[in-house]
Amino acid sequence: MKKALNYGILFLAVTIGSSFLFLPHYPAPKTLILPGGFHVEVIADSLGAARHLTVTNNGIIYVKLAKLKNGKGIIALQDLNGDGSAYKKTGFGNYIGTGIYVKDGWLYASSNTDIYRYRLNEKGEVTDTAHAEKIVTGLLDRHEHNSKSIVLDNNGYLYVNVGAYSNACQLQDRALGSPGMNPCPILDSAAGIWQFRTDKAGQTYSDGVHYATGLRNVVGLDWNNDMDQLFVMQHGRDQLFQLDPKLYDAKQSAELPAETMYALREGDNAGWPYVYYDPFQKKKIVSPEYGGDGKKTGGENAVDPIAAYPAHMAPDGLVFYKGTMFPERYRHGAFIAFHGSWNRAPEKQKGYFVVFQPFKNGRPDGNWEVFADNFAGSDNISSPGQALHRPCGLAQGPDGALYVSDDAKGTIYRITYDAR
């Protein structure tokens, strides 16, 4: 009872606090559905296209926007009283983008072509917001799959995804009957991961290492400290039915191919566009644009995914849980934000939730489970525009809380655990 009262007061405080700070105030979104003992607060809303987010050791949350909000592309949220009751909101950076990451006293952020860094003071604040150091420039942006997600390792390197500006590397992208280009010319400068130094200004493709290839589009990625290894989530190809109606029907096309998790090493190739991963046959299948028949296997030189998830759910966020706030079973496991599908039409859409993937010894162990649900506000979504919220970015706070960003309306959620 006392507990309920405390939460009531906290809720009131958050509501009042946010009404003051975040005008105009929108109605609170429907509550997320979480496992027992977990709680959620909305710490900001109406930020717009809130893509990825990151949290400093002092608890300042930085959010990267894919659409400028009052002319700003990065929003900092600072807990004023240290109790989550009110957040100060400031903005800087006049460019749109997706990637944002904090490490060792620097804030890194990406536009769709460049990567910048900002010096943080001992409080985790960016003091000189006007002067960002441009450390990488000239990454390809040809509209499709143009977001540049970033993560750092523990040795002074940064990893960035450059997505394929194509669905299946056809001569004419997404056109019925257009053949796959062989070799696929996109692979030289996109559809892969590039590695750059974190401390050198003005790097271009030629200064970086082409770290991994054959990855159609990666938005969610994280560094796994247990394995000292880069883990990525790939968005599988679209439109098997529309592009090859003789081989696939609409239902098969909605379930193929898998969304896939890879544990990468330098030089790895994940097989796009020549193969896709079929989660039912558990094999790499030759793409129809490259002579496949839905059964023929290929990609002998390509790595296998270490986990597979239902098709088209769009994994946009990945974070390994390193905290101790959540129960033991969550520690070292992965949270994955599935943005939600569009490519299952005319079938019902799927995703719009955050998944937990248990891990053991640095590898997925056991089945994934839905962790945070009901972002969409309904489980009957036929078109992604109907979803109230779409989870995109994930980050862990210094106290072990999990933060989730929504890029449909710009809501920032804070998920905590308290078993009592």
């Binding site: 004419q172 078109s383 109907q386």
Partner: protein, 147 residues
């Protein structure tokens, strides 16, 4: 010589018949879209357009433009027909939102009549209100694109 002349006359006759039948088709779609045009248009929408533009024509945020109350759908017919024939890969912007996925050309996949039907359907559904598109308009633009 005589037989050649007969062939020419027959061909001319056939031409006249063809010419005669054309305005009838065009008329059918200009004089208010009948249920058949709508039914055909809806079928083409579902088979060809829905996968990307979605069942409610709401599109996909950030990727595929919506076709609801669309300035493109309700805009100049020449531009609209051109997009269907040629595709579009310019990073469309509507109401401050940008859309990144390309649209492939449908000049081989769809016939003139099918393009007229689906555009006529779109121009009277999903909150759009604009004049029907005729097969003659589509043919003209297809011809001009070939030049």
């Amino acid at each position: 010589m005589k037989s050649k002349l007969v062939v020419v006359i027959v061909m001319l006759g056939a031409g006249v018949v063809c010419l005669n039948s054309r305005p009838t088709l065009a008329e059918a779609s200009t004089s208010g879209p009948g249920p058949t045009t709508m039914q055909r248009g809806q079928k083409i929408y579902e088979q060809t357009c829905l996968a990307c533009h979605q069942a409610d024509a709401g599109g996909v945020p950030g990727m595929t433009p919506p076709l609801q109350k669309s300035p493109y759908v309700q805009g100049p017919s020449m531009k609209l027909i051109g997009i269907v024939l040629n595709g579009l890969n310019d990073g469309v912007e509507i109401d401050g939102e940008t859309y990144s996925n390309p649209m492939p050309p449908f000049s081989t996949a769809l016939k003139d009549q099918e393009i007229a039907d689906v555009l006529t359907y779109l121009r009277s559904h999903f909150g759009n209100k604009a004049a029907p598109i005729t097969v003659t308009q589509v043919s003209k633009i297809r011809q001009s694109l070939k030049k």
